[in-house]
Structures are given as structure tokens and as C-alpha cells.
């Protein structure tokens, strides 16, 4: 993909990689290197992931028995609200874009850094500031509105720390916008010579589409939260029905962001999987162009489906009809992607390394989550299952089964590039398989419980639902173990792992042509690109037709 100097192993003067380039804490806190900022984000979101996870562990413990006595209703409300707020805005939204995206976007397009390196660092500090507000809200006594901050409860009735929590999300929103602007400008302005739009890896396309959604949707969330804060703090009665205000308007504004936010969470995951599957099937991605158009379509149509969250909120039935129709339509590009991943596997030389296990897990769980989404897009079924565990199961299949699996897949896939070390393959495979089964144990019973009528957000339930809740809580314990395992073996690999080499998976992306870990400016010489990102052999051809450095990849591995 690049000139011989980069692809081959010609001797180059030794130089520090990005990790050795300054080792003091200050050098990390003032860095403008996109790779180091990615590491800062990774540490941040890991902390938030386990904070949010701790909250939901308490919830699952409470739900073991129908009238669980661990917590009061108020505490229970605060626990699941904290879980939702932290997991959505401080883990899922920044997860893949700000860690893997930040690290890989410049490497994949052959650039030395992102377009605005200082803005990139600012965005991390904004995330930290927002997180501090939200954690303060928790420490000060919690917030009980759920992650959706629905009015008029959040504005007129809740006596909890709504203001601090909303302010935290508001500030984190600016981080999101800054990241989006940065990534869009980077993709437009910093592609290496020869890196045409249709030679971009699908991960870059995914990050690009995600960034567009971030830039255009997040400001609307900011306004909806600002209106809530203004009503609580300044007494400006925007959503107060007593003064003619319209609480439903809040839901429209909120979901105008929060439905596209689902695609902020899942599009990058699709990008990750589109990198992993071709590599371990040794096959070109099937239907590259359609993959690109599908992602753009998902990002675009995603702005026009928000009303399916409001079928029972009192919106016009005609609006519901259109939103329902568009929600079915958006399933089409998602289905194209699932079809293309599957077709990419066809007659591939598939091996099951840990990243591939995560990626295949993603495809299965995302498909389940997507198909259950069609139930919810259909108005009659949705009315039956609104605010039940069916909805909870559906969006966890997309966001946890989908996005989190893909995040772990990407983390394992690029770990050798990021750290220069190899982790224990056996433990990684074990964790991947454990995660898949733990996930299904946790959330599949919730589909059943929800369909039978168990409402979400209640901390007591009729005894006939206990069997599903016990299954779910037991699965959550397995899932928690599966999430903790990588902390152990990945940390171990940092100190005792074998050296990874530049390209341990024999992948064809531009990021694999530089050293592991990369030098501070990514490439020793400006890369020149003369082919597409998935230069694996075509269907019906043997590995011998790969480019020379990839030939006999299987024997090498």
C-alpha cells in the first residue's frame, strides 16, 4: 500500500515511539498527539464503564427477588439513572470514536495527526469536566429521572440533582461536537496522496458518518437540557403546562438527538467489524460501495425516525405512521451491512482469533437487536411492549451486544499496534466466548419477561417474573467476569507480552505499515497510496495472489 521503504524492513534510524516520547504526567496531560489523547480517553471511559457497571450490578442484585429489600425505590431509581447517564454519554458515545477513532483515523488515512490537535485535547478536558459534574451529582445524592430527563418530572417534581447531571451531559456534548468537527476536517483535508474517498477503510467512513451525526444532533440535546436547567434554576417555564408549556416538546427535542445517538454508538462498531472480518476471512469486503452508502444512509435517515420513541406520548397518529414507516426503512441499510459481512465470509479462509470471535458475536447480536427493533417500529406491537423489558433487551442487544462487543473486538485487533505487545490469545478467546454467552444469558430472558408485560424501571415485580430475573442476574455475573478478564490479561501483556511486530495479523490497512507502537508523527515518510484498503485475495483465488508481503500469511502466522 505504500512505498517499499515503509512496507519493507529497510534499516531506519531508531527513534522513540509515541509512548517513549516524553514520559512525565505533564507530558501526557498537555499532549496534542492523537494517539496519546486516545489513551487518555481509553482510561477515562474504562473508569466510567466500571462506574456505570457497578450501578447496574446493584440493580441486578436487587432484582434477584420480587420484593428485594436491598434498596428503597428512590435509591433504585438513582442507580439505574446513573447507569444510563454514565453508560450513554460517558462510555458509549465516546467509546469507539474517541479511543480507536482518535488513534486510528490519522494512521488509516496516512496523516501525522488530526486536523486540530489542540481542539482534540480540549475535547478530552471537556469530557472530564462533564464527567466531574455527573459524578458530583451521584456523590451529592444522585438523580432519579432516568437517562431521558423527561419533563415535567425532571423540571417540576424531582428533588434530586438533575441540574448537575444535566450540566455534565451538556458539557460533554461540546466535547462530542469538537471531536466531530475535528474528525470531519481531518478526513477531508489530511488524506495522504492517493487516498481517494473510495480507498478509505470502512472504519474511516464509519467515523466520518458518526461525526456528521455528532455535529448535527448534539446541539439539539444541548438545547433540550439547557431548557430543563433553565426551568429548574431560573424558573423559566418552557415546559410547564400550568403556563401553557408543552412537556411533549421536550421529548421531541430529546429524541431528535437521542435516536441519532444510537447511530453514534453503533456506526463506529460497524466500522470496526468491517475491518476485522475481511482480515480473518482473508477476503475482500463484499460490496464496499454499498457498505459506504449504507452507512451514509443510516446516518441520514437516522435523523428522521425519532418519533418512534413517542408512539404512546400523544403525538399525532399520522406522524406516528410516518415515523413507523421510516423506522422500517432504516432497517434496510442495516440489513445490507449484515448481508455483506456474511457474504465476505463466504469461501473465506476463516480463522477464529479473539478479534474475529468478538466481530462474529457482534454480527449475531446486532442482528438479533435489529430484528427486535422491527417489532418496536411496528406501532401495534410497540404499544403492547412500550416501557417493558422488551425495549430494554432490544437496545442492550444493539448497544452492549453490538457496540461493546465491537469495541472489545477493535481493542484486541489493534492492541498490538497501540501497545506493541501481544496478549494471551487463549484468555482473549475465552473472554470473548464468555462475553457472548454471558450477554445472551442476561438479556434474552428480558425479551420474554418484557413481552409478558414486565415494566422497566420498577424495583419490585410479580413473582411469576422471578425466573427470568434470576436468569438475567446470573447472566450479568458471567458478563461482569467477562468484562473484568481483559483488564487482567491486557494489563499483563503490557509488561510480559511478546513483541507484536508491525503487522501480526497480516492485515492490509495503512495503519499496519508503520511500526508498533507508531512513532510520534505516525509515519517516517509520507505514505503514498495506490490501492484500496482490503487487498486480500478475491473469491476463488488462493492466498498466492495476495500482495507479496501478505503471501503465505497463514503459514507465517
Amino acid at each position: 500500500m505504500t512505498d517499499a521503504l515503509l512496507a519493507g524492513d529497510l534499516p531506519l534510524p531508531s527513534r522513540p515511539n509515541y509512548l517513549q516520547h516524553g514520559t512525565s504526567v505533564i507530558s501526557w496531560l498537555t499532549t496534542t498527539d492523537h494517539k496519546r489523547i486516545a489513551i487518555l480517553y481509553a482510561i477515562t471511559i474504562t473508569i466510567f464503564f466500571f462506574l456505570g457497571g457497578a450501578a447496574i450490578t446493584a440493580v441486578r442484585l436487587e432484582l434477584f427477588v420480587p420484593n428485594g429489600g436491598l434498596f428503597t425505590s428512590d435509591t433504585y431509581n438513582k442507580l439505574f439513572s446513573f447507569h444510563g447517564i454514565v453508560m450513554v454519554w460517558f462510555f458509549l458515545v465516546p467509546s469507539i470514536p474517541n479511543t480507536l477513532g482518535n488513534f486510528l483515523l490519522p494512521l488509516m488515512i496516512g496523516a501525522p495527526d488530526v486536523a486540530f490537535p489542540r481542539l482534540n485535547l480540549t475535547s478530552w478536558y471537556l469530557t472530564i469536566a462533564g464527567g466531574a459534574f455527573t459524578v458530583y451529582a451521584l456523590v451529592a445524592g444522585g438523580v432519579d429521572t432516568g437517562w431521558t430527563f423527561y419533563t415535567p418530572y425532571s423540571t417540576m417534581f424531582s428533588n434530586t440533582h438533575v441540574f448537575a447531571a444535566a450540566a455534565g451531559v451538556f458539557v460533554a456534548g461540546f466535547a462530542s461536537i469538537a471531536t466531530g468537527v475535528n474528525f470531519i476536517a481531518t478526513t477531508h483535508m489530511l488524506r495522504a496522496p492517493g487516498m481517494t474517498w473510495f480507498r478509505l477503510p470502512l472504519f474511516v467512513w464509519a467515523i466520518y458518518a458518526t461525526s456528521i451525526v455528532m455535529v448535527l444532533a448534539t446541539p439539539v440535546l444541548a438545547i433540550s437540557l439547557m431548557l430543563v436547567m433553565a426551568e429548574r434554576w431560573l424558573g423559566l417555564p418552557i415546559f410547564d403546562p400550568a403556563h401553557g408549556g408543552d412537556p411533549i416538546l421536550f421529548q421531541h427535542l430529546f429524541w431528535f438527538y437521542s435516536h441519532p445517538a444510537v447511530y453514534i454508538m453503533v456506526l463506529p462498531a460497524m466500522g470496526v467489524v468491517s475491518e476485522i472480518i475481511p482480515c480473518f476471512a482473508r477476503r475482500r469486503i463484499f460490496g464496499y460501495d454499498f457498505m459506504v452508502y449504507a452507512m451514509i444512509a443510516i446516518a441520514g435517515i437516522g435523523f428522521f425516525v425519532w418519533g418512534h420513541h413517542m408512539f404512546v406520548s400523544g403525538q399525532s397518529p399520522y406522524a406516528s405512521l410516518i415515523f413507523s414507516f421510516l423506522s422500517f426503512i432504516i432497517a434496510v441499510p442495516s440489513a445490507i451491512k449484515v448481508f455483506n459481512w456474511t457474504a465476505s465470509l463466504y469461501r473465506g479462509q476463516i480463522t477464529f482469533e479473539a478479534p474475529m470471535l468478538y466481530a462474529l458475536g457482534f454480527v449475531g447480536l446486532f442482528t438479533t437487536g435489529g430484528l427486535s427493533g422491527l417489532f418496536l417500529a411496528s406501532i401495534p406491537v410497540d404499544i403492547h411492549v412500550t416501557d417493558t423489558y422488551f425495549v430494554v433487551a432490544h437496545f442492550h442487544y444493539i448497544m452492549v451486544g453490538g457496540s461493546v462487543s465491537a469495541f472489545f473486538g477493535g481493542l484486541h485487533f489493534w492492541w498490538p499496534k497501540i501497545t506493541g505487545k501481544l496478549y494471551s490469545e487463549w484468555w482473549a478467546k475465552f473472554a470473548a466466548i464468555l462475553m457472548y454467552f454471558g450477554f445472551n444469558m442476561t438479556f434474552f430472558p428480558q425479551f420474554v419477561a418484557g413481552y409478558l408485560g414486565m415494566p422497566r424501571r420498577y424495583h419490585t415485580y410479580p413473582p411469576e417474573f422471578q425466573v427470568y430475573n434470576v436468569m438475567s442476574s446470573a447472566g450479568a455475573a458471567v458478563l461482569a467476569a467477562a468484562y473484568l478478564l481483559p483488564l487482567g490479561y491486557l494489563a499483563y501483556s503490557l509488561f510480559y507480552g511478546a513483541r507484536a511486530g508491525n503487522n501480526p495479523w497480516k492485515a492490509t490497512g495503512l495503519e499496519w505499515t508503520t511500526s508498533s507502537p507508531p512513532p510520534p508523527k505516525n509515519f517516517d515518510r509520507q505514505p503514498r497510496v495506490n490501492r484500496g484498503p482490503y487487498d486480500y485475495h478475491a473469491e476463488g483465488q488462493s492466498a498466492g495472489t495476495d500482495v507479496p508481503e501478505l503471501q503465505n500469511a497463514r503459514e507465517v502466522r
Binding site: 496523516a111 476536517a185 439539539v220 426551568e231 417555564p237 418552557i238 401553557g244 508523527k521
Partner: protein
């Protein structure tokens, strides 16, 4: 082109590319800002449709003289900002003109805030802050003033940020600590300034004209 090497930043190799990226980036950000104010104006539109008469009555309580003078002040500031931006881009060593126009822009921005301050004072004296003491009795009038305070407040915050950015350029340019000639920061700041100005052009009729057309 030799003079622009001092303005080149990481990670750019060529100044033209860097300038292009700065402009492109701020346009993307302005798109985001449009959605930000768009959501506020949408909220206003929904409330207006639900309470036509109350909004007309409430709009009549605003002081159109303050609003109109502020519109004139802000439009003039856009002129001085545009002159500064063009003079800097010309690369003709027009430093004094650029600094003068930037300073004028800051002065006009501050004048806007001062006028706004007098207007806010008058509004508070007339009990136009929503609450128990509120002066108007039409249901929905409190909504108008809730949005009035919010939208003008958010706009004033944007303007204050703009004043700080332009003031920084004027000060550093005056002290010769920043090269103004061909500096893309000026055009980027100008684009932001114009956005804040254009938003006001939309806010003016929404705030001051309801109830005033017969």
C-alpha cells in the same frame, strides 16, 4: 508565501491546506451552531403557534427602540469585521487598518451588550421575568418571556465569546505579537462573528415584531 511560514502549525505541511482546513472546520462548527439556535427557534415556533395572542401581547411589551438600535449596531460591527478580514487577507501590510477595524468591532460588540443591559434593566422593572410577580396575565405570555430571556441570553454569551476572540486578535496585533497579514485566524473569527450577527437578524423579528403588525 514566504511570510506565512511563521503561521504554519502542526500537523500541516502547506499553509494553503491549513488555511483551507481552518475555514472548513469553522463552517462545520457553524452548521452545528445552526442546529443549536435552530432548536431554540423551533421551541419558540411551537409555543408561538400554540399561543398566538399571548405572544402578540407579550411582544408588544418589548422595547423596539433598544432592539432596533442593537440591530443597527450589530450589522455595522459585521461591516468592520468584514473589512478587517479582507484587509488581513490582502497581505498588503495593512496592520493598522486591521487593528483599527478589529477594535471598532469590539467596541460595537460591547455597545450592543450595554444597550442590551439597559433593555434588561427596563424589562426587570416592568416585571417581565416569569414568576409570581409577572406583569402580563395572558396564558402563554410567560412562555414568550421565558424564551426571550433564554434566547437573548444565549445570543449574548455567543457575542461575548466573539468579543473576546476579536479582542485577543486586536490586542496581539497591536502589540505585534501576532502576525495579522494572511493569518487565517482572522477569517475564522470573522465567520463566527457573522453567524452571531445573522442569528440576531432572525431573533429581531421573532422578539420585537409580534403584535406590532396590524
Amino acid at each position: 508565501m514566504s511570510e506565512v511560514t511563521g503561521l504554519l502549525r502542526e500537523p500541516w505541511e502547506h499553509f494553503e491546506r491549513q488555511r483551507g482546513a481552518g475555514k472548513f472546520g469553522i463552517w462545520v462548527f457553524l452548521a452545528s451552531e445552526m442546529l443549536f439556535f435552530g432548536a431554540l427557534i423551533l421551541t419558540y415556533a411551537v409555543c408561538l403557534i400554540e399561543h398566538m395572542d399571548a405572544f402578540a401581547a407579550a411582544g408588544r411589551e418589548t422595547n423596539i427602540w433598544y432592539g432596533t438600535s442593537n440591530t443597527a449596531i450589530l450589522l455595522t460591527s459585521s461591516l468592520t469585521m468584514a473589512v478587517a478580514s479582507q484587509a488581513a487577507a490582502a497581505g498588503q501590510h495593512l496592520r493598522r487598518l486591521v487593528v483599527a477595524c478589529l477594535t471598532l468591532t469590539v467596541a460595537l460588540g460591547l455597545a450592543f451588550l450595554v444597550v442590551k443591559g439597559f433593555e434588561y434593566k427596563e424589562d426587570l422593572d416592568k416585571h417581565l421575568w416569569p414568576g409570581a410577580q409577572f406583569a402580563l396575565h395572558e396564558p402563554g405570555a410567560q412562555l414568550f418571556y421565558g424564551l426571550y430571556w433564554l434566547i437573548t441570553g444565549v445570543h449574548a454569551i455567543h457575542l461575548t465569546i466573539g468579543i473576546a476572540l476579536v479582542g485577543r486578535l486586536a490586542l496581539l496585533g497591536h502589540l505585534k505579537k501576532l502576525q495579522l497579514d494572511e493569518n487565517p485566524e482572522i477569517e475564522v473569527t470573522a465567520l463566527y462573528w457573522h453567524l452571531v450577527d445573522i442569528i440576531w437578524i432572525f431573533l429581531y423579528p421573532l422578539i420585537y415584531l409580534p403584535g406590532r403588525v396590524s
